[in-house]
């Protein structure tokens, strides 16, 4: 972990406008890469993770939604962690979904994505149920998560997504 360079970190309130600020920071700070597709995929992962953390944030009435974001880079490997408070009632469904996607092949995820997009509808929270699949299709690596219980109603979940600069690893 010590070899990782921090590209950006943010801890604080999350709003639709703040997502825009974080993405602007991402575009400014992303190192030059020989692999534009890697940057495109990382941007896509970033958007979906931030929107999920905003959409599914458990916020007590007296507080504004908060998130933590850290993007690290080491030798062609990027690691993005986005954390937010989540209702304990929603936690199991989310982790089960991540576990399920982690067990699936890229082909299986693609097939599920196509099926969902054809049948899908936009939920009350504005999601189409496609976000995690889109992240997995972009990252092509399993997602990791850590959970810390806050109280009877909520926990903090940090979801880590990795992506490897394919130009650095591709055998030609």
């Amino acid at each position: 972990m010590n070899d990782y360079k921090q590209i950006l970190s943010y801890e604080g309130e999350i709003t639709f406008e703040k997502i825009e600020d974080i993405l602007t920071l991402f575009n400014q700070r992303m190192p030059d890469t020989d692999c534009p597709l890697c940057k495109i995929r990382l941007f896509s992962i970033m958007v979906e993770c931030l929107e999920n953390a905003h959409r599914h944030n458990f916020t007590p009435i007296e507080q504004n939604p908060q998130i933590k974001v850290v993007l690290l880079h080491n030798n062609g490997h990027f690691e993005l962690t986005v954390g937010n408070r989540i209702a304990n009632n929603d936690l199991q469904a989310l982790t089960q979904r991540i576990d399920m996607l982690n067990r699936m092949s890229q082909e299986e995820i693609k097939s599920l994505y196509t099926k969902t997009i054809r049948q899908g509808h936009i939920s009350e929270k504005g999601g189409a149920g496609l976000g995690l699949m889109k992240i997995m299709r972009s990252s092509r690596e399993p997602m990791k998560y850590t959970i810390k219980t806050i109280d009877n109603d909520s926990s903090f979940i940090g979801i880590t997504t990795s992506i490897t600069d394919i130009k650095n690893t591709k055998t030609i």
Binding site: F16, E20, P36, L37, I40, R41, F43, S44, V47, E48, E51, K110, T114, I117, R118, G120, H121, I122, G126, G127, A128, L130, G131, M133, K134, R137, S138
Partner: protein, 133 residues
Amino acid sequence: MKTIKIEETNTSPYVLFDFDRNYYEIKGCSRPEDVVDFYGQLIDWFGEVKSMISNELKEKTAKEPMVFKLYYDYFNSSSAKYILDMIILIDDLFKNGLTVKIEWLYKREDEDMLETGQEFTDLIKCPIEFIAV
């Protein structure tokens, strides 16, 4: 027939649906705060076109096809569902006798955007051309 013109922002694309000039284009990034509202107006527009289908309009589009240029830099997963809905509505115009074509433009280095467009083609009959920019 109402022309839809929406200026581009950091989170929503430029849209021009101009029936009188027979020019239809969407260009930019799509992750609007209210995706239902943004794409709802476009989806309603297709309903209007469909209600106007006549033999005269079929002959007109046979001479001057309706070409929908879709050039997305990026779209989020919530937009994806609506973009597919829109493509299915374009396909519906085609199935109802209008001469319609989709041009799916993408940045040359963005093979994921090409792949997304190709996945949509499996679901429609309307001709679609992929153009690397």
